[in-house]
């Protein structure tokens, strides 16, 4: 399953959310970004094919050092684990 894209007018940063479809904190993160008009990509890892999960695990672990959901990565360098409004606002300047 590829990343899904949500467009928004706040598109100055590259925002990627690793999420689970069952996770309420992931939903809140996505909703917060939508409400703030932030453009972002997300993937619901629990809905991915098994063969893809191994690849995503590597990617997520390399980038964030863990396997927690939601993990939001801004501009490939700022890693935000969990739904942290304060940190998201700070990283995105919103």
């Amino acid at each position: 399953m590829p990343f899904s894209k949500v467009s928004g007018t706040n598109n100055a940063h590259k925002v990627v959310v690793y999420a689970l479809s069952t996770c309420v904190w992931c939903k809140m993160t996505k909703q917060f970004l939508k409400d703030s008009n932030v453009e972002f990509e997300y993937i619901d890892v629990d809905l991915c094919e098994e063969s893809e999960k191994a690849r995503i695990r590597e990617e997520l672990q390399n980038k964030s050092g863990g396997l927690s959901y939601p993990t939001t990565i801004v501009d490939d360098k700022i890693v935000i684990v969990g739904f942290r409004k304060d940190k998201l606002k700070e990283a995105l300047g919103i």
């Binding site: 689970l20 992931c26 809140m28 890892v45 098994e50 063969s51 191994a54 959901y69 969990g82």
Partner: protein, 188 residues
Amino acid sequence: MTEITIEMVLKRAEADAQTYGYYLTPDPNLLQGLLEGLKVNEERYGYPSCPCRLASGKFEYDRDIICPCDYRDPDVAEFGACYCRLYVSKDVFEGKKELPTVPERRPLEKQSRAYMATSTSKAETAVGQTTVTVKAAEKEIAETKPKLWYCKQCGYVVFRDEPPYICPICKAKREMFAEIKTRIDFVG
């Protein structure tokens, strides 16, 4: 199979909270979202695995994250809430303490199992290395056999791979648990 309803999931969580002296999260939207996640997982896997963690779909791998998970008791004791914040302490419930952020306590090796557990055949076709990891994980499972543990403080006895983090009866720490080694000799 009986249909799983939100009502059922809620009743079970309420009963469990009451038994162990916890409360369910006071935020109704958060509660609803958590219960929905549990319901979906129960429908999908046959057991209500933690909605905020990736399950493997294999019972042996997911045993520690079936709600209420093994990590709830130490997390509520230390932070005032479980990892998902479904179960909270009295202070958090009454608003005397803010809803905390709870770091993941589940060891990374256990988390990793969710990425290689189901359908070995598919994983095998992916990368050679994955095959090795799957085999290693399967071997590990074969090696972890449940044992009998007892709480030295209150006498509670449990049959599982590892002793609980906290005794569900008297709240003693894991260190208070000892393995019961039984030997049955048949003489004469």
